[in-house]
Amino acid sequence: MNKNHFAVIGLFLLLITIIISCQKLEPSAPAEDSILDGPVENLTSAQNIQHLAGDVGFNGQVFTAATGLGPVFVATSCGSCHAGDGKGHPFTTLTRFGKNDSLGRNEFDHGPQLQERALPGYAPEKLPVGTSFAKFTPPINSGLGFIELVSEDDILAMAAGNFNNPDGVRGHPNWSLLPTYIKIRPGSENQGNRYITRFGKKASTYNLLHQTILAYNQDMGIASSFDPSDVFTLLDTDPEISDKIVREVVFYLQTLKAPIQRDQHNSDVITGKDLFVQIGCESCHKQTLKTGISPVSALENKEFHPYTDLLVHDMGPGLDDGYTEGSAKTSEWRTAPLWGLGLAPKSQGGQFFLLHDGRARSIDEAIRMHGGEALVIKNRYNALQENEKQKVIKFLNSL
């Protein structure tokens, strides 16, 4: 046996060593608080299976002409708009237009969402000349299941709590008409045939099933048994997605973990949080909410920290795009949950695209664009010293 034989045998031994240590030479997982996707802790095995199935439906199912896409559409899959379950990008920002009457009917047949893309051979929709419109950046998905479980009593209590707010903060729930496929929660508050809705920039959708069906239909042109209307012909058509997949995707959204705050023990973050509360931001961006009962025990009766009150507030003329949904006025927007804010650049290509349409390119700019009910509080922020502002921003970046 010469030295070459030893070399070859040595290589085989090296191979065996490498195989044994394989996993150590593979990329490690990112820190749990640095990503938005992933299920809530303590799901059962059966719930994990359902969550994974929903993950495939949400992130893995890309629609094509053959599977029902469009023919006019905004996006080709759910995951296209919510990379890593994070905020969307101007490329995936959607446009809604027209005015709704008291029965919830849009003034245009083809509304409220602009179908700005089309399959080859088809023409996309064009915004009607002179109509008002608003652009909506897709939101973070994480923690939606917690928000869905906030009781209507708590939402109404937050609205009532602002009755005598000295800063002029008011806010109210959005009362909206619901599609027939929505099963009303027992004891749900109503004003005639309108109910409290909570999801979306205008807080105009009732629950995650409503939000999901709206997205399938209006974003991708996918008809379902829940909403069989075709966005192109406006006529009912055959379902292009099964109820099972819809339910799995809804479960996936319900069981995504809540964003995890980072650096909460950092002194600047702590000071920034104190300043955030002192100047009055928490009047709308409520730090802590709680869930009620849920068939998913991991979500039941939990406190969580979304920094929202789920109410719509007048944000002033600067953010009044002239378009609205439900009972919200055109200048009224739902208080954006701030959790996950610091992770927004990880899904927005390393940048910030904030506020409802991504017009604010930094947290500071987003604050300075607040008006209306937030004017007094914004002025307090503007009056802070520069280092204090930086601490507020550092706190917001830690969320």
Binding site: V62, H89, P120
Partner: protein, 407 residues
């Protein structure tokens, strides 16, 4: 009578045994580690021939073990039987040949005829080829046999951007010209081609390999338009080979039964391939880079890009060439593959910023060739992939070990 029949059968059986006596099988060896021109790849394969039968048989097999992980999620131990490929060749007459390549890929539940063509030689500079043709775009598509490469995986740019192995029904001509150390080769084919799935697919990107799923292209062209594939290559026996290739045509179904469905939309692919060897050190370089231009409607999603480019470079350095473990002239190589693909070259209309959808990979490797037809290979892949928004890259890394051999 029964005894007579039995005796006859026994006699035939003994003779049949003699017929498959391996001493009668003649191996037509090809040193596949020393390539001729890339266009010769389909003939540059070891085959077995029985006696004076005009039919030769051959093939290759590829199997791997793999342990890869992506951002903390490991796939665990994966055992893969990638493919079994059979070659059947026949010299019908002195200037008419037939060669076929049939591939079994169990993971894809696919048995496909990748190549099955009749070659008619009129002159070394003018040969007619007809049948199922492997389009000569780049070098890898024609030169894809597993045992020729030091890596367990096919290059990303060749398999996931260009659609290797990409073959179509068609006809064409090819030829070669020799002058001292110089070889000049050309190929020109008209074949069936791509379809709408290259921009309407579940990969959510412009993806030429999606068209491979359409087996109807072997019988009926999607749009009645030919796909033109042309290649010119020059080789100097001292310096190596360089090839320039083009593939293009109308890809979409723009009309049916006389009704206009869409505008005619073109696909154009340009590729450059090289291979060379530094004679002093024996270091071999093999590379390919391709540029793809697809007419995607402006009103369609920018998720589907109208430009792509990408390629790979393999560097192979022999470390040992000796009698090792009883194998004569066995070779131990150190190798590395560098890869890059940008699936969507362009800028977002909304922001003017770069569209991502890119992938990089570095794959160091050790390969051991007990003979030129067989290779054992150990690879470590380190790969980064960024999404369309250029968000933080997804990291994938891990080992693969594989064996591939002609038989």
């Amino acid at each position: 009578m029964k005894i007579l029949i039995l005796a006859t059968l026994l006699f035939i059986a003994f003779n049949a045994q003699a017929q498959i006596d391996t001493t009668l099988l003649r191996r037509t060896t090809a040193d596949t580690s020393k390539r001729k021109m890339n266009m010769d790849a389909i003939y540059n394969r070891p085959m077995l021939q029985s006696g004076k039968l005009p039919v030769s048989l051959g093939g290759y097999v590829e199997a791997n073990y793999q342990h890869l992980g992506t951002d903390g999620i490991s796939e665990g131990h994966q055992f893969q039987f990638r493919r079994l490929t059979l070659f059947v060749a026949s010299t019908i007459s002195s200037r008419i040949k037939f060669l076929s390549e049939i591939e079994f890929e169990p993971a894809d539940k696919e048995i496909s005829v990748e190549f099955a063509a009749v070659d008619v030689e009129f002159h070394p500079l003018f040969n007619l080829r007809g049948g199922m043709i492997v389009n000569p775009i780049g070098a890898f598509n024609q030169n894809h046999d597993g045992p020729k490469w030091e890596f367990t995986d096919r290059p990303i740019s060749a398999e996931k951007m260009l659609p290797a192995t990409w073959s179509n029904a068609g006809f064409g001509v090819y030829g070669k010209y020799y002058q001292n150390r110089w070889l000049l080769g050309y190929e020109l084919y008209l074949t069936s081609g791509f379809d709408n799935t290259i921009i309407e697919n579940e990969f959510n990107r412009t993806y030429l390999p999606a068209a491979k799923a359409n087996a109807e292209r072997f019988e009926e062209s999607n749009n009645g338009e030919p796909l033109i594939t042309a290649k010119v290559a020059v080789k100097n026996t001292r310096f190596g080979e360089i090839g320039f290739s083009y593939m293009g045509g109308i890809y979409n179904k723009y009309q049916e039964d006389g009704f206009k469905l869409d505008d005619k939309r073109r696909l154009d692919v340009f590729a450059l391939d090289i291979n060379t060897r530094i004679s002093k050190t024996g270091t071999a370089f093999t590379g390919e880079y391709a540029w793809i231009f697809v007419n995607v409607p402006d009103t369609y999603s920018q998720q589907f890009g109208n430009k792509q480019h990408g390629g790979f470079l393999d560097i192979v350095q022999p470390l040992l060439k000796d009698n090792l473990l009883g194998w004569r002239n066995a070779v131990l190589n150190l190798a590395c593959r560098l890869e890059y693909v940008d699936y969507n070259v362009g800028r977002f209309k909304e922001t003017g910023e770069n569209i991502g959808d890119e992938i990089w990979s570095i794959m160091p490797a050790i390969s051991f060739r007990p003979n030129p037809q067989t290779v054992f290979r150990l690879n470590y892949r380190f790969q980064k992939q960024r999404d369309i928004f250029t968000n933080p890259a997804v990291n994938t890394a891990g080992f693969s070990f594989g064996i591939s051999t002609y038989f």
